[in-house]
């Protein structure tokens, strides 16, 4: 299965400073499902829609995942703004995710 969800920003001027992310998942694996849910919650709370999220199913695009350096799933890569950061796991720890995304989030 392949899911690609581009969340349109509410304010078009914010796109330039918006966040570009890729979430690598494996189909309906429990960790992957959990990661997606956790990420969406974080994004809603902290990005207010100023982001692009691509969901890559490794089962469908394994060689792309390999090229992107993804080893374990789920895996979140933040491409923009720089620096590129990677978070592995089901993103159950929002504090660490925010840290990785460079967001001054509330500590959990």
């Amino acid at each position: 299965m392949r899911r690609q969800r581009i969340v349109k920003p509410a304010d078009p001027t914010a796109i330039a400073g918006g966040m570009v992310m890729q979430l690598y998942v494996v189909g309906g694996a429990p960790n992957s499902v959990q990661a997606l849910a956790n990420l969406e919650r974080i994004c809603q709370q902290h990005l207010q829609g100023h982001y692009q999220l691509e969901i890559v199913d490794v089962l469908e695009q394994p060689l792309r995942a390999l090229a992107d350096g993804v080893i374990v799933t789920p895996s979140l890569i933040k491409r923009s703004p720089l620096p590129v950061t990677q978070v592995v796991g089901n993103l159950s720890d929002p504090g660490k995710v925010l840290l990785a995304l460079g967001l001054p989030g509330k500590s959990p």
Binding site: Y24, V25, V26, A29, N31, Q34, A35, N38, V58, L59, P62, L63, A65, L66, G69, V70, I71, V72, T73, P74, S75, T85, Q86, V87, V88, G89, N90, L91, S92, D93, P94, K96, V97, L99, A100
Partner: protein, 597 residues
């Protein structure tokens, strides 16, 4: 999940020297092998070597999943081995960099289903037959939950069972470490378990390998030493329980003629000879002479020395007329100089085994084998020496080994490496100190299956090589050094005198003979003269008898006297002449004339 139907166990050769022998053919095909051991025990090298050999020898592709190091580090670390990994990594071996960067942040649980999906795609893309998970524990410990770790390992197992790949999983598992308890179940899960071990024995690192499990197959279960050479790991394979050596009756020269004569014609082809002696008793010279003779026969030879460089040995040997340089240059002679401090005897054995395999020598020398006992303990060295000799016998190599003994008692060897009991020929070199001199003596302590001299001989080193001198014994001891020289000089003087005496006597006899011959000649001449004289005298007598009767007749006629008829001619013969026969003829005539008046 659908499983691949179980098939009769077939094996994939690893191409690792010794390992395929002890595992009965290699690793189980399409099954999983667990390679466990502490850090630096050789797990990664073993796995990479299996992939490299499969790629080079059978053109089988493989994937190496590196959890511990970066892919390029794996290649760089393997550069010391002659596998040509950088070239292989472009086509047949794919090194998957599964090393998590330290900048990666972990948040919550993860699993390996992603990487397994990647591997599946990669496997199909390159038609891989092998997969190695190197250091899986590095990644899984991040889960910080033994149950989750176990879940991921089962995930790998299930994936492998469906994938028709021959797999190797390495893990830093050791019975001593904490992780061992967590990963113990892996040993039940996989089909083959190989345990690597690295420990210090008498300060020398000793690497060992042990197959602890092999489902559906028998295997040599002992611990086997391994070493790291240019082509990677070499394992010392199990020795065959039965000794099968062909005993040759062919003789090869032990180096020089007189030595061969002492040995009853030389050494048997494929036999082992031990030369023992204290330092400086010229063991190396004898060994060098044997090596030179072997090269001169055109036989490939391996010269193994310990703790002395090859260059130094050839230089020293050239001072006693043994020139090994041309044979080294022609490639007939290989010199190997090993350092004994840092390596265990096992490692030396593995190295020598590799050299024998590569050079295929017919003759081999080791100088001195006793150096192997320096590091790693005497017990190990003894076992190694024993196996080394059997290895050379199996390869039909004629070998001469030296062993250092402090002191002059050859029996000291029996307490040292104990090679003397398995060697076929045992030659002992010693010093004999007498009359303020130290001379070298050579004894053949034993020589199996052949006549040999029982006499102690003096070994003299000359510019043209070692020489065994003539034997002089006095008072039950072999004379050596200047005592021998004196004896030799004395012997020469005696011989000269004997020759002079003989010639004198001969001349005497010749003179006597000539004298006798001369006398015989004179007597013969005298005899001839006497015979001639006798003949003459007889004729004269007859003539005289005849003439006197005629004269009487004439006288009677002149006197007109009566004819005397019955005159006996013998009665008229004069009485025997008292004068010497010399003047008989002349005097006779005169006498008869005077009688007529």
């Amino acid at each position: 999940m659908k499983r691949v139907d179980p098939q009769p166990l077939s094996k994939m050769a690893t191409g690792i020297g010794g390992f395929d022998e002890l595992s009965g053919g290699g690793l189980p095909r399409n099954r999983t092998t667990l390679v466990m051991g502490g850090p630096g025990s050789g797990k990664t090298v073993f796995s990479l070597q299996v992939l490299a050999n499969a790629a080079r020898q059978r053109d089988e592709s493989g994937i190496f999943v590196a959890f511990e190091e970066r892919g390029r580090e794996v290649i760089a670390n393997a550069a010391t081995f002659d596998w040509g990994l950088p070239a292989l990594a472009e086509r047949q071996i794919y090194i998957l960099d599964a090393h998590l960067s330290p900048t990666v942040i972990q948040s919550g649980d993860f699993d390996l289903s992603g990487i397994l999906a990647i591997l599946k795609a990669k496997k199909e893309q390159m038609n891989a037959r092998w997969v190695v998970f190197d250091g899986i524990d590095v990644l899984l410990t991040l889960l910080q939950d033994p149950i989750l770790e176990m879940r991921e390992i089962y995930r790998i197992r299930d994936w492998l069972a469906d994938s028709a790949l021959t797999a190797i999983i390495t893990a830093k598992l050791d019975s001593q470490t904490v992780q061992g308890t967590n990963y113990g179940f892996m040993q039940f899960m996989v089909d083959c378990v190989i345990r690597f071990d690295r420990r210090l024995e008498y300060g020398v690192p000793a690497h060992r390998l042990q197959v602890t499990k092999y489902r559906g197959s028998d295997f040599a279960s002992g611990e086997f030493p391994l070493s790291f050479g240019p082509s990677g790991i070499e394992v010392a394979p199990p020795e065959p329980p039965e000794i099968i050596h062909e005993a040759s009756t062919e003789r090869v020269s032990a180096g020089f003629e007189r030595f061969d004569a002492m040995l009853g014609g030389g050494l048997f082809r494929g036999s082992s000879t031990l030369i023992t002696g204290a330092p400086g008793t010229s063991k190396t010279t004898l060994i060098g002479k044997f090596a030179e003779a072997a090269c001169q026969r055109g036989e490939r030879t391996l010269f193994v020395s310990f703790d002395e460089g090859a260059d130094q040995i050839t230089r020293n040997l050239s001072s006693v007329g043994i020139d090994l340089h041309p044979h080294i240059q022609s490639g007939l002679l290989w010199m190997y100089s090993g350092r004994t401090e840092a390596r265990s005897a096992e490692e030396h054995l593995i190295k020598l085994r590799a050299l024998i395999r590569d050079h295929q020598p017919r003759c081999m020398v080791i100088d001195p084998l006793s150096a192997m006992a320096k590091a790693g303990g005497i017990g190990a060295a003894r076992a190694v020496a024993n196996r080394l000799i059997h290895l050379m016998k199996d390869s039909k190599i004629t070998v001469v080994i030296s062993a250092l003994i402090e002191g002059n008692d050859p029996q000291a060897e029996a307490t040292d490496l104990q090679i003397s009991t398995i060697a076929d020929t045992w030659i002992h070199l010693s010093y004999v100190v007498r009359s303020g001199e130290r001379n070298r003596a050579l004894t053949i302590v034993k020589s199996r299956g052949t006549w040999h001299s029982n006499q102690v001989r003096e070994l003299v080193l000359s510019e043209t090589g070692p020489v065994l001198t003539d034997v002089y014994s006095a008072g039950g001891e072999v004379l050596m050094g200047t005592l021998r020289w004196e004896k030799e000089a004395e012997e020469i003087a005696k011989q000269t005198q004997r020759r002079v005496e003989f010639e004198h006597k001969q001349r005497d006899l010749e003179f006597a003979e000539a004298d006798t011959q001369a006398r015989i000649k004179a007597l013969e001449l005298d005899l001839q003269r006497q015979q001639a004289e006798l003949a003459l005298y007889t004729l004269d007598g007859k003539a005289r008898v005849l003439s006197s009767s005629e004269r009487e007749d004439k006288l009677r006629r002149m006197r007109s006297a009566d004819q005397v008829i019955d005159t006996d001619p013998a009665a008229i013969l004069p009485p025997p002449d008292p004068v010497t026969p010399g003047d008989a003829s002349g005097a006779g005539a005169g006498q008869s004339a005077s009688e007529e008046q």
